[in-house]
Symmetry: C2
Subunit: 413 residues, 2 copies
């Protein structure tokens, strides 16, 4: 499966322990890239402190890398490192000499960013400073390196006009200018990604940074080519209210016979993609280095669905397996438009050869089977939203009453 390593294909994956990070690291390693995976395991810590751990018992990076080497003869080097530590990061970049740097090292949960002052401030500072450090490490140590940043389709929000791919030409009072497409996200997490874009766009314009911003929709799926080779190579799979993405959560709910929890009426429309397509998009992005100073933006999803439609597809696939699943509507804990126009473009990756793995009954049946095999590990207390975004004043604890135990504070949120 491995090929000879290419000196021009050296990639660092920041956040290499994540749902996307680890499969991405394997994907590149088995395709001839020299790969360094960096993580500080902060998602694992937040998950284990909040009863939100992965369905699978995923080993940490050194063990994962050993397993990958045994099974595929491909190599991923792993480094335990907080990307907020600039000296440590810049040393890695200087020594590894990457041609591309994937930045997935962000706190990825929108609900977590909307919980308390502490979780909000952590999200803000982690996400902004990891981006800042990634930019500076490249500019100072590897100026031609391509920064590939994981953004989200959520940054665009749900405007009443067609969503273009990153940029828009505005015609105004007889004159024209091209701008970044306006962004206005539905959570602090999404807002930090918008702020990342401000930083990256600035350093592209002023310091010749080469960058790609991947505006990705919610990802679903369990397996990639590599994860099928060994249980030790599985990526994490969250189905809780903090880290679980919607389709993955529906699949787990169907397996344990709990109604699928649709927030509100479920007419919110979003763009989704399979984990396998996410890896392929990232690979396509990495194979095309922007010019110095160029910020390339690509919308990374393959299909749009209303949430209720997604739930109905899971019910249908479960039925095919003889599982009777039902749907429950919860009051929406998020601040979202119930009905809205949504027409985002997504030409970039299709034009470059992406052949989407669309959401079929077969895909869902496969997911349901894997989750069923792990049914005994499912904690059914994790499905219901503990964090309500839908209120005027965020947080709840005054500063002087900061409790000793964060868990206690979080539980009452």
């Amino acid at each position: 499966m491995t090929t000879a390593s290419d000196p021009d294909r050296r990639i660092i994956v920041l956040g290499g322990d994540g749902y996307l990070g680890w499969p991405t690291a394997m994907h590149f390693a088995t395709r001839g890239w020299t790969v360094c995976a960096v993580d500080n395991y902060s998602r694992r810590e937040i998950a284990s402190a909040n009863n939100a751990s992965s369905l699978f018992d995923n080993p940490k990076l050194p063990e994962r890398c050993n397993a990958l080497r045994r099974v595929t003869n491909s190599n991923v080097v792993s480094v335990e490192l907080d990307v907020n530590d600039y000296c440590a990061l810049s040393q890695i970049v200087r020594e590894f000499r990457p041609t591309a740097l994937l930045h997935f090292a962000e706190q990825p949960s929108a609900p977590y960013s909307m919980w308390t002052y502490e979780t909000a401030r952590f999200t803000l500072n982690n996400n902004i400073n990891t981006t800042f450090n990634a930019i500076w490490a490249i500019l100072q140590e590897a100026p031609d390196c391509h920064l590939i940043k994981l953004g989200t389709m959520g940054e665009y929000g749900t405007p009443n006009i067609d969503i273009e791919e990153g940029w828009i030409d505005i015609h105004h009072r007889g004159r024209s200018e091209r701008f970044l497409f306006p962004r206005q996200g539905p959570s602090l997490y999404h807002t930090t990604k918008i702020m990342d874009t401000d930083l990256i766009h600035f350093y592209c314009r002023h310091c010749g940074l080469r960058a790609t911003d991947l505006m990705q929709g919610p990802v679903y799926g369990i397996h990639t080519e590599e994860t099928r080779l060994s249980d030790q190579l599985l990526t994490n799979f969250h189905y809780d209210d903090i880290f679980g993405t919607v389709l993955n959560r529906f699949v787990v709910q169907a397996v344990v016979g709990i109604p699928l929890t649709v927030y509100g009426e479920g007419r919110q429309v979003r763009g989704f993609l399979n984990l396998i397509d996410s890896l392929r998009c990232i690979e396509i992005a990495a194979l095309e280095t922007p010019k110095a100073g160029q910020l390339c933006v690509a919308n990374q999803f393959t299909q749009t669905f209303a949430i209720l439609d997604l739930a109905a597809r899971v019910v249908d696939a479960a039925d095919f397996l003889g599982i009777r699943a039902t749907i429950d509507h919860l009051p929406n804990p998020r601040m979202e438009q119930a009905d809205h126009y949504y027409n985002p473009t997504h030409r970039h990756f299709v034009d470059r050869g992406l052949v989407p793995n669309l959401l079929t009954r077969e895909t869902l049946v496969d997911m349901l089977k894997v989750v069923s095999e792990n049914r005994s590990r499912i904690d059914t207390s994790r499905f219901y939203p503990r964090i309500s975004w839908n209120r005027r004043a965020p947080g709840h604890q005054r500063c002087e009453a900061r409790p000793a135990a964060m868990d206690e504070e979080r539980r009452t949120a």
Copy 2:
């Protein structure tokens, strides 16, 4: 001069020791508001560490407040506090119960933000976290309080279309939506202000924050109604390459007989305003509290000038006083468009009664006279830019070689 204090007019000025902060605190205090000025003196520290102190020997806030009380019988309470400390800030907000909170507590120098990794990271973290804390302190402790944020016209950059006041209606493929006017600033400092706007806009939409964003152009001037009453009430006046704004610097250069340093050909156009008009705009803003969830944006300048035109006006005013001033063109240390379209709107404050103090020869003559009286205090080594923004890789020091003395590092930048 003082009037009875109004229980509905209670204002906190974050950054109350600044060029704008202190005159603003006095302006509100002498007009019947109850005023609390907060500062941690970080600008003073940066200035004194980098040979960039104010022309005047301004006392710190407690002494300034005493002087104000003696001269006007008006009261400003001062608190020494880092706005990055959320517990301390939220306690002040809880106890003071402000109806408005002015946020000037940012690192205000664009060149400083473009110097080294350390100065950039300080600017980023200080500006983002002070804004974040100001938002949260209001939402948790005084949810109806009006956040007034000092933005800058520089956030808009110099686009090829007319600059509206904060918002723009975009018509695209037969549909329409109103968005924040696109922002793309020329320095990291400007970019942090754009990121502030992202945060404020988000918390307005999702938590009902009431906010006004003042998109201010460069301010010039020395005196306000209150500063004329005592030398102890003077605001700071910077003429150096770090904190000095362009017109103030030209006036000082003219007084000491050094050619006025125009960056490049000087055809860059910007919107300017007198310090007196800045205070009036802030007052108008404070008298109109937005609805819950509303973000009001106002362009705060009175006239646009090309930089070379400004320099010529200073030469003319100096000539009137018998001072022979000349102009020198330096290579532009900034990354700016030499020639550009620039047509920003500024109706908001004029519609609400602002009568601008335009830049006349008399204004400049007054400034030249005050600076001449302080001629012996001028350090002529401070005029030339030490910080070049105009290069590919920012910073210059690798992390492992971080020098013990910051001064040494800065000097070689």
